[in-house]
């Protein structure tokens, strides 16, 4: 099992979700996050005072997938989330030892 974490532009969430559903991904967790990579922030001005905002709102998707699905999922995210500009985000993959379904104690890939 592999955990796929993808940080993407907020506006790309729907496209990515649709692309993942199409290749058979059944579940995911979506979190609103703030952060920055190499992308620079922006400034905001309130009553003449400037504030630089360097933590930019992004969307993070987390899903644990059977290994057979991982490549397809990565490709789906790449295609759906890419604009080609700085700030498109990143994908991280990591091994997962175990998955457990709370409802019935089912373990392994069957619990995904």
């Amino acid at each position: 099992m592999t955990k796929v974490e993808a940080v993407i532009q907020n506006s790309k969430l729907d496209a990515v979700k649709t692309a993942l559903h199409e290749i058979g991904v059944e579940g995911m967790t979506v979190i609103e996050v703030r952060g920055h990579g190499r992308q620079k922030g922006h400034t905001e001005v309130y009553r003449g005072r400037e504030y630089s905002v360097d933590l930019i709102p992004k969307t993070k998707l987390e899903m644990v997938l059977p290994d057979t699905l991982v490549d397809k999922a990565v490709q789906a995210i790449l295609t759906a989330a890419r604009t080609g500009k700085i700030g498109d985000g990143k994908i991280f993959l990591s091994r997962v030892d175990e998955a457990i379904r709370i409802r019935n104690d089912e373990r392994g890939e069957g619990a995904l």
Partner: protein, 471 residues
């Protein structure tokens, strides 16, 4: 409809006969005529009183709406998330506390018969304030309507100061301060400008008749200048100006500012104290000034920063409303536009530039908007006031004389300066003494830990936005 027409003709004939018989036989005595005339006059007066009272009660409600939720939302949105409830509570607490004071003795101190500086104790516990009008103040509405309308002004004035000490004053100290301030600064100032025989009263025999239609000096200069004193006395918020402290919700502030704009019609047009053409004039001037000031502030920002901000637009509108407050019932629409435009640009400059130059931490710009805008408005009232809108000054023969500078009454400028100076001095001295008193007894500022934690939790044990899922 032939039947209907026949019936009409018959009815007409009967009426005609009745009228003729009345004319021929109905010789009424002079005494009857007088009685009927008196009755008619009474009915006309009652009708006028009803109309005026309806408008004044509406206005009173509108002015209360300015404090809650208007000002509470406006200020609440400008602070950080952890202080939103405390900031709103400051407005709300005054709605309750000042009302109690007003009923017990403050109304008497402000509007009861007294000397040039403060009213007496004749109307203690609202004694003698009932359904009968007070002829000097508002001859067509119950004195109680006038009292409750004035109460709403007494509520919002100290609430405005809260913008300067937001996010760092103890709630208990804030209560103690505003109660004392209300008694020793607001009540005397209201008496001097609006009270019978007050030093600055323009229509009831003041020594320096200052034109202040709806409280430019009484409300905005006093609160704005006191705000500056508070900001200087309390010192900066922890982390200011290094840490960013942007408004946590301009959305809340937007709703608040729009409620303030609407409420201000009660504040200014209601200050005509009747549903009269003067109320219309004040209503129009108020609206025009707010609009022009919004254009002024947002426009100035657009030129300087390249973008017109929403916060700039709404702050401008409030600045225009502040500046037109003393002038509302004295100027025509075009001067109102000019006053608004100047106020929008001037207050923007005060807030965006001057505050930075001096480095005081007026958290929500109570001084930059109310102190500066109020002072500007009071001076400009002396320039643009015209007797065509409001014939307030009369000579010994009862003829109307010039009101403002442009009409040829240069002397009025001196009176306006005296009015403004009185408000400044009273506000500075009063606020300093009261702050010191509160500071040595209960302390004005929260501890650094409490400030960092946020005043919602440390002062009230609540959070404005409770995150934990509840179901």
């Amino acid at each position: 409809m032939p039947i209907g027409r026949k019936l009409l003709i018959k009815l007409g004939a009967v009426l005609l006969i009745l009228t003729i018989s009345q004319l021929v036989c109905g010789q009424t005595s002079p005494a009857d005529t007088n009685a009927r005339l008196a009755k008619l006059e009474q009915q006309a007066a009652d009708a006028r009183s009803s109309a005026d009272n309806a408008w004044m009660l509406t206005s009173a409600a509108l002015v209360l709406m300015m404090t809650g939720p208007g000002l509470a939302l406006f200020y609440g949105g400008l602070v950080r998330k952890k202080n939103v409830l405390d900031t709103m509570m400051q407005s709300f607490a005054l709605m309750a506390v000042v009302t109690v004071l007003w009923g017990l003795f403050s109304y008497s101190l402000a509007f009861g018969a007294g000397n040039s500086f403060i009213g007496g104790l004749k109307n203690l516990f609202l004694h003698g304030v009932g359904a009968a009008p007070d002829a000097d103040y508002a001859p067509t509405i119950p004195a109680q309507t006038y009292m409750v309308y004035q109460l709403m002004f007494a509520i919002i004035t100290p609430a405005l100061i809260a913008g300067a000490f937001a996010e760092r004053m103890k709630f208990s100290a804030m209560l103690a301060f505003t109660v004392l301030w209300s008694i020793f600064v607001y009540d005397p100032m209201a008496h001097m400008v609006w009270g019978r025989g007050g030093l600055l009263n323009a229509s009831l025999g003041g020594r320096f008749p200052t034109l202040d239609f709806a409280g430019g000096t009484v409300v905005h200069v006093t609160s704005g200048v006191s705000a500056l004193v508070c900001a200087l006395y309390l010192g900066k918020r922890v982390g200011y100006p290094k840490e960013p402290m942007p408004p946590h919700s301009v959305v809340l502030s937007f709703i608040g500012a729009c409620l303030l704009w609407v409420g201000w019609f009660g504040f200014n047009a209601g200050s005509a104290l009747a549903a009269s053409s003067l109320a219309t004039s004040a209503f129009v001037a108020t609206h025009f000034a707010a609009a022009a000031a919004a254009v002024g502030w947002a426009g100035a920002e657009w030129i300087r920063n390249g973008k017109p901000s929403v916060l700039g637009g709404i702050s401008g509108a409030v600045a225009g409303l502040v500046a037109i407050t003393p002038a509302a019932g004295f100027v025509t629409p075009m001067p109102a536009l000019i006053i608004g435009l100047i106020a929008g640009c001037f207050c923007y400059w005060m807030v965006a530039r001057v505050k930075g130059m001096f480095g005081y931490d007026d958290s929500l710009d109570a001084f930059g908007v109310h102190g500066a805008g109020g002072t500007l408005g009071a001076i400009l009232t002396g320039v643009f006031a015209t007797s065509a809108v409001n014939p307030i000054f009369k000579d010994a023969q009862g003829n109307t004389t010039a009101s403002g500078l442009l009409e040829g009454n240069a002397h009025q400028m001196l009176n306006q300066f005296v009015g403004v100076a009185t408000a400044w001095v009273l506000a500075i001295v009063g606020t300093l003494v009261i702050l010191k008193l509160v500071d040595v007894t209960i302390g004005v500022r929260v501890s650094e830990d409490a400030e960092v934690q946020g005043l919602d939790l440390s002062q009230h044990g609540e959070e404005g936005y409770y995150w934990e899922a509840s179901a």
